[in-house]
């Protein structure tokens, strides 16, 4: 019973916190890019790419959340034990917090990248690569969460 509750809590933690990071990151990037577009709407394609870059954290969080739901019996299957529930919760904290804070940071990087591209479109690829440098940390958090989540159903705790 507690196992189920903890697993759902874990799914929420992963989805919500990583989502907050992306929402804030994409939000500030979108604000900046709209400022650029008000001057020159032909840059829309490039701006869209840069704006969407901080969006992956939310996606990672969502995937961890979804995998937890699949593995915890909400969408069919056996119910998790309390220990497994705690394991889910522990795993979800990684992408939750890692995704949130890296989302903030990547949002800031995206804002700078957008202003840089607005000045000279040749800077686009450099801006893009620099922004993805932040992403590795969200990615590492995601991998940790993922590896735990997929192995939890086999855990005897």
């Amino acid at each position: 019973m507690y196992g189920m509750f903890l697993a759902i809590l874990a799914a929420s933690v992963a989805t919500v916190f990583a989502g907050i990071g992306s929402a804030k990151g994409v939000g500030s990037a979108a604000q900046t890019s709209m400022g650029v577009l008000s001057e020159d709407s032909s840059k829309f394609g490039k701006m869209l790419v840069l704006t969407l870059l901080p969006g992956t954290q939310g996606l990672y969080g969502f995937i961890v959340g979804f995998l937890i739901l699949i593995n915890c019996g909400v969408l069919g299957g056996s119910l998790p034990t309390t220990g497994q529930g705690f394991a889910f919760l522990g795993a979800s904290v990684a992408i939750g917090i890692g995704g949130m804070i890296s989302g903030f940071a990547q949002g800031k990087a995206a804002v700078s990248g957008i202003t840089m591209t607005a000045k000279d479109e040749k800077n686009f690829s450099k801006a893009m690569v620099s922004i993805t440098l932040v992403e590795i940390y969200a990615l590492l958090a995601f991998i940790v969460s993922l590896l735990v989540v997929i192995s939890v159903p086999n855990l005897k705790v």
């Binding site: 790419v49 969407l52 870059l53 969006g55 992956t56 996606l59 990672y60 995937i63 979804f66 995998l67 699949i70 969408l75 686009f124 690829s125 893009m128 690569v129 993805t132 440098l133 992403e135 590795i136 990615l139 590492l140 995601f142 991998i143 993922l146 590896l147 997929i150």
Partner: protein, 658 residues
């Protein structure tokens, strides 16, 4: 790349230059800042400025037209190639250019008038807002005193009603006799008219001034109501004039095509005049210096020979000659990815073929869905067939087509066709559970269940990618005869990485392999300690430098971990597709349910494709730029920019595309 010098008669100049521009074989350069002795240069800056001004004007006019009368453009029109025109038509465009420039000027002028009308509107609105409080006043704002009565019209900066006003004035000047009318009050303004015997005018003024009385800003000789009516009338007139100007501009939109082509015409001419300024000329002869790619030398010679009697000399190119990339049909689409980073210099090798392979391969692994890949292949094939795009767009489409092929491959490996759509449909219509693994006849990897396996695979592929990058470095160093750099700085690291890889394989399989791997890695590490400090002074300096260099292993580890994104993005595509499949499955198999299913299925997969194609593109690019290019690629070369037709809207028949 070769240098080329063409010497010909001045009377053939126009014809020769036109041929060169159409063939796009030569990049023209100045031989030196000033003309050689005995030669002179043309100063074409005046004409150049004129052409550029004209081109600028047409651009302005086009922008105005786009705003006033937007062109109806299909979403797919951007794939279309440029219109082909023959030399006769260019002659016609040239003849019409004066007329078209006139039209552009008219458009710009009309647009300026519209801006003036807009300013006028603002002015009228302010004036109306100022008059609004005085609406009830039935005498002009600048009414003068009558022989016996003084008239004071103005505002007080506070809310007053009759009693308050009387009290305030009585306090200031008890003997004042007055009559008043309050026309308007708000929290911080009161408009009023005050009548008082003429002899008391000064007292009244003083009393009023102490409570903050001020006269209206621009008094007029008509009553406010009349004035307002006039302003409104004027406003309507301006709106009408503005509308007329707008219609007039919109009527000129029929010239849009002609304006575009005229712009191209002036761009072409300014290109030609730029080259003209770089030629060394005498009274009868001119000399053109430039660069030509080695494989085009023969072509250039025959072309010049056909065009006019001339001498063509070739020479060896120097260090700062421009670079033209030449690649197979497989690698060419990825050329734009390389040049986006930097054009290779003469010191570099052209990384395009290697990059192309890994770009397609990694993109496919991240996007990893056979259905999506098939869509990409079909969509790009149709676009190429239908729109006949020009070279750049063609290459971009081809890039995604090749990526699509890799996507199909990885989709089949991961057992993903529109996510788990086949299994979902199977379950929906038969009611039996089935996994993709069971459905597909070949062995597949499940991104969710075999995630660890795929992660190891990702990092192994990353190892290959990095080692290939370092192999390039090794090759470049050998080519430059920097043997220490090649063997010690690069070779030993390659060895260490290979040792580590063998060691990892050994850990999973058997002890002998493990020992071999450890042996290689340790030997390479010792080699590094011994060689990496070679530029430091003193024994301890050398030793410390060598040991410190081992710290670089952290950067290799972080590079390798970076490849885990191959798993992460592959999984993201799969899971998102699966989620939408699940959602579309919720409504059952009734006709309405199937309708819902179709809508959710299409929209959901469109979202998945959009988000994940973008992610895959960005992240493959990053893997190439950050992880591989950092190992060997320096760039910084000058791209080859031949003298050609850089037109936007048409291209001359028979001209080569650049």
């Amino acid at each position: 790349m070769k240098t080329v010098r063409i010497i010909a008669l001045r009377k053939d100049r126009k014809r020769l230059l036109e041929h060169l521009q159409d063939s796009a074989l030569v990049q023209v350069t100045k031989s030196s800042e000033t003309a050689a002795e005995g030669f002179e240069r043309f100063d074409t800056s005046a004409q150049l400025k004129q052409f550029e001004r004209n081109a600028e004007l047409t651009e302005q006019a086009l922008k105005i037209l786009a705003r006033v009368a937007p062109e109806k453009k299909g979403m797919l029109d951007s794939f279309k190639g440029r219109r082909e025109v023959d030399p006769d038509e260019i002659g016609r465009i040239a003849a019409d250019s004066a007329k078209i420039i006139g039209i552009c000027q008219k458009i710009v002028k009309l647009n300026k008038q519209r801006a003036d009308y807009a300013a006028e509107q603002v002015r009228i609105r302010t004036s109306l807002a100022q008059l609004e409080p005085w609406k009830k006043l039935d005498i002009p704002l600048n009414t003068k005193d009558t022989p016996t009565t003084a008239v004071l019209i103005g505002t007080l900066p506070k809310m007053f009603d009759g009693t308050l006003l009387s009290e305030a004035l009585a306090k200031e000047c008890p003997e004042l006799v007055f009559e008043y009318e309050i026309l308007y009050t708000s929290a911080n303004m009161t408009c009023l008219v005050l009548f008082t015997p003429k002899k008391q005018r000064e007292e009244a003024e003083r009393a009023l001034r102490t409570i903050g009385f001020s006269q209206p800003l621009n008094p007029t000789s008509r009553t406010p109501a009349v004035k307002m009516q006039r302003q409104q009338q004027k406003s309507e007139e301006t709106v009408q004039k503005d509308e007329e100007a707008r219609k007039e501009i919109a009527a000129l939109a029929e010239y849009r095509q002609a304006i575009c082509e005229t712009q191209d015409y002036f761009v072409l001419r300014s290109e030609k005049y730029k080259v003209l300024a770089d030629l060394d000329q005498t009274k009868h002869v001119f000399v053109l210096n430039g660069y030509v790619p080695e494989e085009d030398c023969a072509k250039l010679e025959t072309l010049c020979g056909k065009a006019a009697p001339c001498v063509v000399e070739f020479g060896e190119a120097d260090e700062d000659a421009p670079v033209k990339l030449k690649n197979s049909r497989f690698a060419e689409p990825a050329q734009s990815i390389v040049t986006m980073y930097s054009t290779p210099s003469h010191e570099d090798i052209d990384p395009t073929p290697i990059l192309a392979f890994f770009f397609y391969f990694f993109f496919g692994m991240m996007f990893s869905d056979a259905g999506y890949g098939l869509l990409m292949i079909i969509a790009t094939a149709i676009a190429i067939k239908v729109f006949k795009p020009d070279k750049r767009m063609y290459n971009n489409l081809k890039l995604f087509q090749y990526c699509g092929v890799a996507t199909v491959f990885w989709g089949l490996v991961f057992g993903s066709i529109f996510g788990d759509a086949p299994a979902m449909f199977y379950k929906m219509f038969t009611g039996n559970e089935i996994t993709m693994k069971a459905l597909l006849p070949w062995p597949t990897l499940d991104t969710q269940k075999d995630a660890l396996m795929i992660m190891i695979l990702s990092i192994a592929l990353g190892m290959v990618h990095i080692i290939v990058g370092m192999g390039c470095k090794f090759y470049v160093c050998l080519k430059r005869k920097e043997y220490a750099k090649a063997f010690f700085d690069t070779g030993l690291w390659i060895l260490l990485l290979i040792g580590a890889a063998v060691l990892a394989v050994g850990m999973a399989t058997n002890a002998v392999v493990l020992y071999i791997g450890t042996g290689i890695a340790v030997a390479a590490a010792i080699g590094l300690v011994l060689t990496q400090g070679r530029e430091k002074k003193g024994f301890f300096g050398k030793l410390l430098g060598g040991v410190a260099s081992l710290y670089d292993i952290t950067s290799y580890i972080s590079d390798l971990l970076s490849y885990s994104r191959l798993l992460a993005l592959g999984l993201t595509t799969g899971v998102m597709a699966q989620v939408f499949n699940m959602l579309s499955n919720l409504f059952g198999t009734s006709p309405v349910g199937i309708l819902f299913m179709a809508v959710i299925f299409i929209v959901g997969h469109a979202i998945t494709i959009g988000l994940n194609a973008l992610g895959s593109y960005v992240h493959t690019m990053r893997l190439q730029y950050v992880e591989m290019f950092s190992k060997f690629y320096e760039g910084g070369g000058r791209p080859f920019q031949p003298f050609s037709t850089k037109s936007k809207y048409f291209r001359t028949k028979g001209s080569k595309e650049e």
